[in-house]
Amino acid sequence: MNSFSTISELVSMAKENHSDISEIVLSSEAQRMQKDKEEIFNTMSHRLTVMRNSVEKGRKNYNYSISKMVGTNASSFDSFISKNTYLGGMVEKAICYALSVSEVNACMGLVVACPTAGSCGILPGAVLSVSEEMNLPDEKIVLSMFTAAGIGMVIGNNATLAGAVGGCQAECGSASAMAAAAVLELMGGGPDQVGHAVALALKNCLGLVCDPVAGLVEVPCVKRNAFGAVHALVAAELALAGIESVIPPDEVILASYEIGRLMPKSLKETSEAGLAKTPTGKKIESMMNS
């Protein structure tokens, strides 16, 4: 039986198989869909191409979204880092790429939801920056996306990936945990470390609310994608250094679900509280409705 429902199963299957988690997720998908691995790999590879196109489009975009709240952050940041560097290439690219994809989404461009449209910049931001800085071949990037997807499936099946159910921890938190796992595999970490990277990333997003201004996937979503990508890099390097999460990943996932259920409805994508109901948030909302 080649299936998994928890992170600990995924980790032990990879260890028994002496492989990476990506290999387990890919084989399991092939078996479930009754397709060969090559076809599944190629479908994922196409998604990587779409992600790269979103990055290229976003960093050169000078147009605003319909609400005019976002649209040019990626191009501004891209031109800033072409002349300055403070945080270093890997981190700066992660920020830039995540902003790019997220702004393409906000401006009605083509993206890959991962796991949702609101959090679509985090995984490409993290994996594309790391793979470029480390000169890794596309094959490795595509494989790392299977690792990310496996983590996302476990979170989706044991908790939730919907902001309306679990707040933003379910969207950007999950995306960040998925990206941390992918990056860790790109950096050469083993299955146990992937588990810790997931736990570390998700733990630090627990309780994150979803309170978007005017109900749109823009504020705070776009910039949060940039933070989410960097957050994934931090979790991956901590885990790679051997730093472990005291609470195991599957327990963190269940805790996130519990916290999501306890969170008031007003902070779960309804825009009835938080940033959405600040004086500025309300002003933007009434402008959008006029």
């Binding site: 997720v25 998908e29 479930r32 869909m33 599944i40 479908t43 994922m44 998604r47 779409v50 979204s65 319909i66 609400s67 393409v104 989404n105 906000a106 401006c107 009605m108 461009g109 083509l110 993206v111 890959v112 939801a113 991962c114 796991p115 949702t116 449209a117 609101g118 679509c120 995984l123 996306m145 299977f146 990310a148 997807a149 496996g150 996302g152 499936m153 989706g156 099946n157 990936l161 919907a162 309306a164 998925m178 005017a214 109900g215 749109l216 996937v217 823009e218 309804t270 959008m288 409705n289």
Partner: protein
């Protein structure tokens, strides 16, 4: 969450899987139910669609759906003007009428022959949708399967007659929903199947007595 591509995917025009991709799919299915591109549509927007449709580009996505575009089509942002050029008049009407589901859309469509159909549906997240009502009939259509819509008289044995035609073509029924306005009067059945529904099913069913509507809705 059955596939890795439910997680890394769908590939879609943003910004929202429920309010952009989902809205497009609902309009696309409504168009298939009408059987043709409508010439005139009144779109009633309820719940969060009424509040956020402009910022989410739901209006453009709905226009794109009526034109038969996919959720990946990069012409979606310009769909309203494309629809206007093709003679599709679309009127968006936000409503604060209370509805059961927070993301509800209703399309009052007219085609070039003057046929009028009202379709109501909900967007349930992640780009998944359900058509809940066709005219006054309750239905249940997801677009994830091949589907048949059959309008028929309500009397004993009619359902068996219809499903027999389907089984004779070796088509497996995945889900089925029957509703009626009144006992012994008009009824409607929606059938979702695993297998492709070809046009010969349409002709066989159309020749049965007591059926007043047969539509095939292909998987999206």
């Amino acid at each position: 969450m059955e596939s890795v591509f439910d997680i890394i995917g769908p590939i879609m025009i943003g910004p929202s899987s429920s309010h952009t991709a989902g809205a497009l799919k609902l309009a696309n299915m409504a168009r298939a139910i009408l059987g043709d591109t409508p010439t005139e549509v009144k779109v009633n927007l309820y719940g969060s669609f009424a509040k956020t449709y402009k910022g989410h580009g739901s209006d453009r996505a709905i226009a794109a759906g009526f034109l038969g575009f996919s959720t990946e089509d990069e012409r979606i942002p310009e769909a309203i003007s494309i629809a206007a050029k093709k003679g599709v008049k679309i009127n968006f009407v936000p409503s604060n009428k209370p509805v059961d589901h927070p993301n509800t859309l209703e399309f009052e469509m007219v085609d070039k022959s003057g046929l009028k159909i009202i379709v109501q549906g909900i967007s349930i997240g992640g780009g998944n949708v359900i058509i809940k009502k066709i005219d006054n009939y309750e239905v249940n259509l997801t677009g994830n399967y091949e589907a048949l819509i059959v309008g028929h008289k309500d009397y004993p044995g009619i359902i068996a007659k219809i499903t027999q035609v389907i089984s004779s073509k070796n088509i497996n029924i995945a889900y089925m929903y029957v509703s009626r306005l009144e006992r012994g009067k008009d009824a409607m059945m929606t059938i979702e199947t695993d297998d492709y529904i070809s046009t010969d099913i349409y002709s066989t069913l159309s020749s049965l007595p007591d059926l007043n509507l047969v539509k095939i809705i292909h998987r999206l």
